[in-house]
Symmetry: C2
Subunit: 627 residues, 2 copies
Amino acid sequence: MLRPPSMSRQKVSPSQVPILWSQAQAVCFDVDCTITKQDALDDLAEFLGKGDAVRQITHQAMNGDMDLDLALQERLKIMAPTVDSLQDYILSNPAQGRLVDGIQELVQELQARNVPIYLISGGFRELILPVADLLKIPRNHIYANRFVYMADDDGQIRVHGFDPTEPTSHEGGKPEAIRRIRAQKPFQTIVMIGDGITDLEAVQETGGADLFIGFGGVIERAKVVKGADWFVNSYQELIDALPRWKVAMIGSGAFASSVAQMITHNVAKKATFNNRVDMYVYDEPFGDTTLSNAINTMHENPKYMPGVKFGENLVANPDLQDTVKDADLLVFCAPHQFLKNMCQQIQTVVKPTAKAISLTKGIHISPTDGPQLLSTMIRRMLHIECCVMMGANLANEIRPGGFCESTIGSHSTEDGEIFKELLETDYFSIRIISDTEGAELAGALKNVVAIASGFCDGCELGENCKAAILRQGLEEMREFSKRLYPTVRDETFWESCGVADLIATCYGGRNHLVAQEYAKRAGKDSFEQLEKELLNGQKLQGVLTSSEVQAVLQTKGWQKSFPLFVAVDAIVRGLFHPKDIVRYRTVAAEAELKDLHHVNSEPSLLEKRLSKSMRIQNIIHFDDDDF
Amino acid sequence: MLRPPSMSRQKVSPSQVPILWSQAQAVCFDVDCTITKQDALDDLAEFLGKGDAVRQITHQAMNGDMDLDLALQERLKIMAPTVDSLQDYILSNPAQGRLVDGIQELVQELQARNVPIYLISGGFRELILPVADLLKIPRNHIYANRFVYMADDDGQIRVHGFDPTEPTSHEGGKPEAIRRIRAQKPFQTIVMIGDGITDLEAVQETGGADLFIGFGGVIERAKVVKGADWFVNSYQELIDALPRWKVAMIGSGAFASSVAQMITHNVAKKATFNNRVDMYVYDEPFGDTTLSNAINTMHENPKYMPGVKFGENLVANPDLQDTVKDADLLVFCAPHQFLKNMCQQIQTVVKPTAKAISLTKGIHISPTDGPQLLSTMIRRMLHIECCVMMGANLANEIRPGGFCESTIGSHSTEDGEIFKELLETDYFSIRIISDTEGAELAGALKNVVAIASGFCDGCELGENCKAAILRQGLEEMREFSKRLYPTVRDETFWESCGVADLIATCYGGRNHLVAQEYAKRAGKDSFEQLEKELLNGQKLQGVLTSSEVQAVLQTKGWQKSFPLFVAVDAIVRGLFHPKDIVRYRTVAAEAELKDLHHVNSEPSLLEKRLSKSMRIQNIIHFDDDDF
């Protein structure tokens, strides 16, 4: 964006203006008559009874008819305020009353988009600080002049002049300030907004701003109107032209539907989001139409979450590529077996600037790369950032008037904040942590512990025993996560994604309920059969995740450290009775012996697991606690 | 115990012998013919084909008829074994086959009592090491001779003599070894056991042993029989005379009865404990007899835990002082309101060497000292050590065939191990941690969270909400504990006493169930009324603990950091509807305002709390989840 030095700079082409504005990485504002309704020096002069004389010089300077340094010096000489009179002026003119209409809203909208704001003013720092504080602009983002004081012979401390080392005290000071900003942080696109000639200069020098927006809401100057890339009289114009995050949901099961309900209402309320939400629906016949048609007509998912109303701003779309192609924010909420294939389908159409969040629980076992987090898979396949949201979020209980918590794990705080804005409601409270890996693994592994807890309840082993199993499960979840990713933190497991999700899943979740029934029938009916019978053909993440965890344990030789995980798998495979979960330590040891016994006569268990996992990924359409 | 040097030392008086033996702080054994059945050098000589010549010299030396240095030198000269032949000998004579009957059991019994064992031998270190390893005696507890090797001209490395700097190579070496042991650790009472004259010497010099036990199981020497303080031919005699921990249970409610069942069976099986267990029973009429009589006849507690059989070695005793006066181990398991009064009663009769463990949950609020742990109160009032046991231990589910876990918090690992020996069974698994304060506070505070969880279930707020409440509860439990005791560790809350106890209590506990009913009736019936109705007059710890926690929060000004604790208390006091637990943060803020409103017109809430807490401590007989 840097241009060769030239005063005859070409204006930005009209078609490029809205693009630059929507891509602004920093916005710099002039202050007097841009953010505030008066020129503060004129106003101060009025306060001091020297209004007319000073205003005349100001006018000359802003029209470019008088040298800036000289104008400043002249005005200060006329006013010569004392420290006390300055303080009187500031106290009697609170910042709130000085703001131009709409500026506060514009600043908030920019801040909501994580766009840093700078103030670059030929006015004085003392007079600007209250405005900056009110607008929550950091004080180190202010470039302005500083008064120099001296004492009169009678002891009065009085303004004597200004600090000539501040860039804004000279001609060309505003582009210089922008160069200094760039030197601190290499912003790609900087926008300058102001009402005067000196503001226009900011875009006319090398290293200056990339777009100049003239503001005529207080004063309209002909030279500025002429030189501006874009001239506006109201900040609403700029607000309206700000980018809005476009959201795509990928998935339409029970959990996806609960989340979509919250998202559709949030985007309708918040200006940072595009009002329309697209939802990818794996289409299937529904009555005499298709599921996607039914959703678009009824504004709910009549198959997986009947009665939960989406906003009318949700559009169900059976075409995955079409759903995601314009999206800035991708919300992955599909069963984990389908994710890889989905990512392959959309690799070429996803915007390179898009951000993703995964709500899916599971571990991807790659035959070449070994175990992989789903967020890692998304990140690698789509070349975009991906955070996760995990928590005690049973789908059918997420509803207005209720209360639940969730955890966003995000390497970038900014991305976490954006998705929190999108997903949080007054009945769905979110905390952000940086330990993405810990949050995601907790979400996946708890489904394995839920199977153990189902065995406890099915065999009526009591609350002491179940609590002991959950404690051990939590210990193995932490240990497994920390061994796979040394950055995982114990603290993560205190969050909703840890202990709370485990509790909710082990008392109200689907994995737990099916495992309980499996135990009640003493393992006589297979999990597949029970899934058909109890879940209307939907499947469980827990059984598959258990198998994937075993593949990791076997590959790494970690079985001895994870007796509960080993025992769950052995019981699921029918090697032991579900009630044997109570003696998981001995079961784990015996299971290893049994497996060793088979090792020569059959394909290795690991091979079988991998082929089973891949088979499942290809053929089964299933659902889970959260979907 | 140190005596002036004298070879005409008086023997220990017969009445003192068993006392010294039972108070032994270290026991030193000779090795040859004391721990092993042969003299190793004789045996080695036999192995080398030089048996007769060597045996003759050994015999002279052990009878005191030959100078020790000379005898040793002579024997080595005759044998002159090579390194290879030494190794052959050691390999072909495994330690297990060389042990005297009963020595392994005696050593284990001493080790179970944390009595360190030393080996002091005129034999050679190389030949003793396998025996020490087998008996789990640390290698730095061996005092013995060392071979000195030299090479023959033909290159054979051969024993040439012994290291003359080892004390055991000279006359008076054994008392010298004991002096060295004393110099490392100031044992009060050291016992020497051996078969020879040199062993007897160990007790005949200043700084030597305090008691000499002659052992005649292999060889009986007249001089040793005559000089020994005690002469035994079988180690069973010594095992039988070892001290056994005498146990007293203080409390006889449901939880105390479940624990007593385990204790009575453990002490019957383990020699470290006295077989008799005394249980203090707060006596009351039962049918046409008293509860204590009924317990002693039926060997169960027919009122609070019918059907759970104690061993017949349990004696119910309605006299508290009589129950504890001989006890080495005190198990406190009474409701926390009674503890202070009980400690006052027994202050003068408790053995100063006794150790205590508290299974009681609660916080003692002292009007002068503020909040106090119950274990601290016991420690201060009785001047003995006190550890705690807390965990997911609902009383009626502790049974053979079941499974549960618990946590002992003990500042001393040794005390923790003793109580673990006493309390652990195959269906009751214990882990020891050093964070006594964290374990105890977790046990007390979880009852407050259980009330919140009861509100959730009573108002059908769902599993997501309940999991969120438990997560917040756990967070406040940790924070409260760490603020009161900065040594408290987060890790403690991963243990059974933390997350597992919380889960069991919030799903199966009594506090939870009564709070659930309170919520179902929308708070119309008071807790006191519900306790009468549902618990047959027994009371809840949770409501009282909640009030005690509030007293702490108010005294310290911590309310803002503990919104869930504040909200539970406000709902219990009837200021809000139980369903308001879902918005505990706002409830906490509003509760503070309501309380402020009353502050001038009434006695302060803190004053009321303290007086209520003290009133309850004086008048109410109650029980809890665990009692």
